[in-house]
């Protein structure tokens, strides 16, 4: 039993460890001392500076555009794949699953290098398009897995009933499938959005002149040193994560991260 107590103590320590960095970023983002040296009272100055930084706002815009396009395309392809696979009972089902999950297993940096090789061989200029394609390949497996677990739970007699009642396939989709899948669609979109928005590995290889993303900008300014404004930005990104996790919902999140891994 004493061992149990030690284990519990370590585990509680782990939860503290998980939140020290998050707390530090938030606390120091309000720190009035400019150089991060001591804590000298509260200020919102760094948040104000953040929004006055035109170059930073430009990268924010790039990241937002890329993330919205990526998330929308990944979700659309994911819906099709999930519905297709839910009704497909033929041979090769396991191989199809492995195929769509493949980009999760290949180290991301290798995927980034691979796409860069294609674009440089075909002389496709690096920019928004190449960023979207790169982010798509890393968010598609996630979006698809989220949607698949919901599509598998659909009662197949419902779309059949819709067809019998004279619905066209498109009407069956908009009136039957989509409303039933809506929570999973929202989750897939939001998770693809964050995956793209915070991506640094693919972007390192696939962004061009004038298409610097927000994480790339943060990374390059961190190389010269941490400023309080970056802490403020970090605090806002933590807030964004919190909102997305709560929007997706704990039970759905749990299904994605725990049940899909067992």
């Amino acid at each position: 039993m004493t061992v149990d107590r030690v284990v519990n103590g370590i585990a509680r320590g782990v939860f503290v460890f998980l939140y020290i960095p998050i707390a530090a970023v938030i606390v120091y983002s309000f720190n009035a001392a400019g150089t991060n040296t001591r804590f000298e009272g509260l200020t919102l100055q760094w948040y104000v500076e953040l929004f006055q930084d035109a170059a930073l706002m430009q990268t924010l815009q790039t990241s937002a555009i890329v993330a919205v396009i990526t998330a929308t395309v990944a979700t659309a392809i994911g819906i099709m794949f999930a519905l297709g696979l839910a009704r497909y009972r033929g041979r090769g089902r396991a191989s199809l699953l492995a195929l769509i999950a493949l980009p999760l297993i290949v180290p991301e940096i290798v995927l980034g290098v691979a796409m860069l090789s294609v674009f440089s061989a075909t002389k496709i200029p690096l920019g928004i398009l190449t960023l979207v394609l790169g982010h798509l390949i890393v968010s598609l497996p996630l979006a698809t897995l989220v949607l698949m677990s919901s599509a598998a739970m659909l009662d197949p007699s419902l779309p059949e009933a819709a067809t019998d009642l004279g619905c066209t396939p498109w009407q069956t989709f908009t009136r039957v499938y989509f409303p039933l899948l809506r929570p999973a669609v929202v989750a897939a979109w939001l998770l693809s959005f964050t995956t793209s928005f915070s991506n640094i590995v693919m972007s390192t290889f696939l962004s061009g002149v004038g298409s610097t993303t927000l994480p790339l900008k943060i990374y390059s300014s961190l190389k010269t040193g941490l400023t309080p404004s970056i802490n403020a930005l970090g605090a806002l990104l933590i807030l964004l994560t919190l909102v997305i996790v709560l929007l997706v919902g704990v039970s759905q999140m749990r299904r994605i991260l725990v049940e899909s891994r067992s």
């Binding site: 939860f15 180290p107 940096i109 290798v110 860069l116 640094i200 933590i238 891994r261």
Partner: protein, 306 residues
């Protein structure tokens, strides 16, 4: 399912099947065109001769791989393997302990504890990394506390300690999920039975929980080991770039040296190591399935199907 068989009996088998195959095409095409095909091009490039600007020419050579054995690069490879193994070991041990703790809580509380792991998991990777600069740097809380006691000039940025902490922080949530997933499905009465039969705490772990958690541990190892070697942000920001990982090597070769063939060889090395570890994990899973009793075999196979 029942209506599916009815549909087949009614001879409507062809229609839904063809439609669903069409729905699969965009997904398959994306992975093939944006994932698999580019990987083949990297494989080809890794054998190519570099032109004067580091571009790709048509030749066929093993030079790019041979150059990786040069002490400058082989040092990076060995260091990466070492750091990858260390990070994996620490993540597995701490992940095991954390999962054990979560599983032993009442069901209602487990969801909350899991949420506490999920939030850092989804937090921006860069934020999770630069947070350690704030904590361990010269202006952080540790330096502040030590300053009160008259110890000035504390800073762990840059240092290898910071790199190890940063890696652990980045990969721990990733490791916890699969371990928790397989630990959760263990029948609680097994633990009780083992205790009743005289197993102590260690005995219960060694004979019951550890063997049954093996698939989760192996999965977690796979998600930690090679990805750790591919990281490039952490060694730069927390380690000052002194000790690069394979990830740094690849980035430098592609974006600074513009030596594409050698960068491709380094990437292939990472991919080959990934394949080797996957085969190894597959063999270990098979062995644990055949070694166990019939009931255990059944359990692990149903788990894999889930």
């Amino acid at each position: 399912m029942t209506s599916m068989t009815r549909a087949i009996q009614l001879g409507r088998k062809e229609k839904p099947k063809r439609g669903s195959l069409l729905l699969l095409i965009p997904g398959i095409a994306s992975v093939v065109l944006l994932g698999i095909l580019p990987l083949f091009i990297v494989a080809r490039n890794s054998f190519a001769v570099a032109d004067n600007y580091g571009g790709i020419t048509d030749g066929l050579t093993l030079d790019n791989y041979a150059k990786l054995l040069d002490p400058v690069y082989s040092k990076t490879l060995l260091y990466s393997l070492g750091l990858g193994l260390l990070n994996t070991a620490v993540c597995l041990v701490i992940g095991y302990i954390t999962s054990y703790y979560i599983v032993s809580r009442p069901a209602g509380k487990q969801g909350f504890l899991l949420l506490l792991v999920i939030i850092p998991f989804w937090t921006d990777f860069l934020v999770r990394t630069f947070a350690w600069i704030t904590i361990l740097g010269s202006g952080g809380p540790i330096a502040g506390v030590l300053g009160i006691f008259g110890i000035a000039g504390f800073s762990l940025i840059p240092s290898n300690v910071a790199v190890v902490l940063g890696l652990l922080y980045s990969f721990l949530p990733t490791a916890i999920f699969p371990i928790y997933a397989s630990m959760r499905s263990i029948d609680g009465s097994l633990k009780e039975a083992a205790t009743d039969l005289g197993c102590g705490w260690w005995g219960v772990q060694r004979r019951v929980i550890l063997p049954l958690t093996r698939p989760g541990l192996l999965g977690a190892a796979l998600l930690t080991f090679i990805p750790t070697m591919g990281v490039f942000v952490i060694p730069v920001l927390l380690g000052g770039g002194k000790d690069p990982l394979v990830g740094n090597l690849i980035v430098t070769l592609y974006t600074e040296f513009r030596n594409q063939p050698m960068g491709a060889a380094a990437s292939m090395l990472l991919l080959i190591l990934m394949l080797i570890s996957m085969v190894l994990v597959g063999l270990l899973l098979q062995r644990s399935a055949t070694k166990g009793s019939s009931s255990r075999t059944k359990r692990s196979s149903t788990e894999k199907g889930a």
